[in-house]
């Protein structure tokens, strides 16, 4: 069963997908005192999406301050990148979700597009 699922997930990754891992990231001390960080990985297999926005939220889905290289990043088709997200130690108890959301470009005919968001839960 797991072999089939892994194969399916690997293949699905090359169709038109958005994945954001790990599911349960852990905050670790960074080289700056009072700042924690975690490393996330995003894989963009969506041909129609080139930009992803990142966000950190508490249990009520309110924004929690965080820092990273760019809060909106460009991912080419089939590109995978590791992203470091920095959070103040005093906000550690508040942080629940780290999310990535696809940014869509409006073009073309009358249709509905799909905005995808994948959220991980901090341990």
């Amino acid at each position: 069963m797991h072999r089939y699922l892994i194969l399916l997930l690997v293949m699905s990754g090359y169709a038109s997908a958005h994945s954001f891992v790990p599911t349960y990231p852990e905050l670790k001390p960074s080289y700056v005192e009072g700042i924690l960080y975690t490393t996330m990985s995003l894989f963009n297999a969506r041909k129609d999406v080139e930009y992803y926005e990142f966000g950190v939220f508490n249990a009520e889905w309110e924004k929690v301050p965080f820092a990273m290289q760019n809060k909106i990043m460009r991912f080419k088709h089939l590109e995978k990148k590791k992203i470091d997200i920095y959070i103040r130690e005093k906000d550690k108890q508040e942080v629940v979700y780290i999310c990535s959301k696809s940014k869509l470009i409006i073009t073309g005919a009358s249709k509905t597009s799909v905005s995808s968001r994948v959220c991980s839960k901090v341990k």
Partner: protein, 162 residues
């Protein structure tokens, strides 16, 4: 010299026999837009993705590798992301349901779904793939015709770790 070759051969054979295969199954959610939605225009004041109205329902696939690690939260649109200027109200209705499943035990997803506002939540309690279709309809004013132009709307598909 011959003995040395035999010794080396035996050493390599022993190593090969003890080779380890390692793997790691980590929790993961992959969101894949499967089918692009298209608005049909059955009457002048209605835009609908329903196939009976000439539209196409957008389909999104969620793949999860571990059961009960994620929930799917899908929202049908409540506004156009692009449209001509509209000077009357648009009333949105919609529905989200499973359209295909990779495991028969996912058949209970529809009965257990939670709906509020334009949002539908499904607990992904079984590992595998689930296809969700989102039906949406926009009704313009009171019997008013939608002005000509391009209309676009966004369906939001979220996979949230639980």
């Amino acid at each position: 010299m011959k003995k040395l070759f035999i010794l080396l051969f035996c050493a390599f054979s022993a190593q090969a026999a003890q080779m380890e295969v390692m793997g790691n199954v980590a929790s993961k959610c992959v969101v894949t837009p499967d089918t692009a939605g298209v608005f049909g225009n059955p009457t002048s004041d209605v835009l609908s993705t329903d196939p009976t109205d000439g539209g196409v329902d957008p389909v999104v696939r969620f793949d999860v590798i571990q059961a009960s690690s994620y929930k799917a939260r899908i929202s049908y649109p409540t506004a156009f992301s692009a449209s001509p200027t509209l000077n009357d109200t648009v009333v949105w209705t919609g529905d989200v349901a499973t359209s295909q499943v990779s495991d028969t035990s996912m058949s209970g997803y529809d009965a257990a779904k939670v709906e509020f506002d334009n949002v539908t939540e499904f607990s992904l309690t079984v590992a595998g793939s689930t296809w969700f279709k989102t039906e949406s309809q926009a009704d313009y004013g009171y019997g008013k015709a939608f002005p000509g132009g391009v209309y676009r709307a966004i369906v939001s598909a979220e996979c949230i770790a639980i």
